[in-house]
Amino acid sequence: MSDRDRGRRRYGVLVLLLAVVLLASAAGSLLVGSAEIPLRRTLTLLASSQPSLERTILLKLRLPRILLALVVGAGLASAGTAYQSLFSNPLADPFVIGASSGAALGATAAILAGWGWNGGWGIGPLPLLAFGGALATVGLVYLIGAGGSRSSPVTLLLAGAAVSTVVGALVSLLMILHDQSLGVIFNWLLGGLSSATWHDVRYGAPLVGLGVLALRLLSRPLDALALGDDTVASLGLSALGLRLAIVVAATVATAAAVATAGIIGFVGLVAPHAARLLVGGENGRLLPASCLLGALLLLLADDAARTLAAPQEIPISILTALVGGPFFLLLLRRQSRAPGGLP
């Protein structure tokens, strides 16, 4: 058996394993929540079609919440993977480079204006504004932090942090000026999987799916992009066109994730790095693995958010920041020490 076959088999087994673990965790998560519904009772409830409060909890509260966690986790992870290649920067993720806060600003404006998801497959004013906001911030951060050949990875992070702060202030300002909606927006901003409904899943999933699929199709040029614009051009691709396509795809996934579940940081950072350790750096393999890991991470984080301080719920973004923040610092430290690391 050649190296290649062995590699392919290893990858197949890994993805299968991840998928199985993910399915099992998703099924297990049906049992997690403030209302105690034991396993046997859960199975009976699912099998029967008799309406009951417990059945409603399972199907209308827990199931959409689980599905949304999977969708949002996969979306943020694939967007993070793409942003990292795009900026040739292992520290990039939707939250770090400001895409999440941009999407939040757009979504906040839409919510305050009373606009929603209506419009069939999720192409209503809310996702559009979230997408516009995210695209604008990513563009701005890119121009400041990655434009020119001499910019360093740190410049990008600083630009992301600065733009995020300004955009975050705008969100706060909007909230204060419309204080009757303050509670709603605040809950959603903190990473609101707790209020997940089938409505969120129905509108968020197609958009996230679209972004993820587009990124998977772009995975080979994405490999080349991390090597620099000259390399991309000398392989026959337009660096500018490619960057635009990838920014749009990654930002669609980010905007849909943020518009349904608020700002959840670091999933898009941790998942790609964990996936890279498992399957290597080739985006064709990395993206699927990263999606599965992102979904799993967010699902487990949400389970923890529901149980750790029960009956109180911990906003999920606090949990992901507690875990992901130190990971980010570790990466930053390793980067700046590596030969040829941060200049």
Binding site: L235, G236, L237, S238
Partner: protein
């Protein structure tokens, strides 16, 4: 003999800074052309212009008589492969994955790689003597091996023209000699047209058919390598006192620096 790749009166600039002016070149098929000159003399700029990566302010780059900026990018890169001076991957990549990227011009960004691509991969790894290392991570290789991986990527591109920016950098003497032997063989036997830059004047004398001496963005001299590599021209281009001695076996002029050692005595 008509040129495969030619530059006519090319001028390039970065912002206000002029990097190359009145650059003429006619690379004949099946030859090795070496661009020589001090750091900043314009070698890389000339190569990037030839590889259609830098659009000249003035003049034209011609591939088989056609203006390269009128060709579609894909059509161009199927015929001209480029090796950048430096390139780093920000995270792990396997040798195989890196070399297969050289098949992008043929396969496109979406279609799966075919047997032909695998064959090109195997042949390219063979040519740079990295056979069997396809599964290795780039980070685990030495600088010279990484350089050869990038060269293999350019070779896997199956292009009629190779534009190589310092292909010998980071290689030890044996691998330098083997690399230039390979390039010369590709040119003289396979009909590939090779344009490259290098600093080692001995290797230039041994392996280049045609040499171009650049100084401050302008061509100081060009012609058969043995003629261009004269002590006077090299001194003028590099600003260092040199003398030429004939190679004991091959007779080509070897340019050797003259130090102050005599004056010290």
């Amino acid at each position: 003999m008509t040129a495969v790749l030619a530059a006519q009166g090319v001028a390039c600039a970065y912002g206000d800074r002029e990097a190359l002016a009145a650059f003429d070149l006619a690379a004949a098929p099946g030859t090795v052309t070496a661009l020589l000159g001090a750091n900043g003399a314009g070698k890389s700029t000339a190569l990037r212009a030839l590889a259609r990566l830098h659009k000249p302010r003035h003049g034209a780059i011609l591939l088989d008589g056609q203006d390269v900026w009128r060709l579609r990018r894909r059509a161009f890169v199927r015929r001209v492969a480029f090796l950048p001076q430096t390139e780093t991957a920000p995270w792990p990549m396997t040798v195989e994955q890196m070399v297969l990227l050289g098949r992008l011009p043929h396969r496109g960004w979406l279609l799966p790689y075919t047997q032909a691509d695998r064959a090109a991969l195997a042949r390219a790894l063979d040519q740079v003597e990295l056979q069997g290392l396809g599964g290795r991570d780039l980070g685990s290789l030495s600088g010279g091996e990484r350089r050869r991986v990038l060269l293999a990527r350019a070779l896997a591109q199956d292009a009629a023209v190779l534009v190589l920016d310092e292909p010998g950098a980071h290689l030890d003497l044996r691998h330098q000699v083997e690399l230039f032997d390979l390039l010369r063989r590709l040119a003289h036997q396979g009909g590939t047209t090779v344009v490259l830059s290098l600093h080692d004047l001995h290797l230039a004398a041994l392996f280049a058919d045609h040499a171009v001496l650049l100084r401050q963005g302008r061509v100081l001299a060009q012609g058969p390598a043995a003629e261009v590599l004269s002590p006077d021209l090299v001194r003028a281009a590099l600003g260092v006192t040199v003398e030429a001695v004939p190679h004991p076996r091959h007779g080509v002029p070897l340019i050797v620096p003259v130090t102050r050692r005599e004056a010290d005595r």
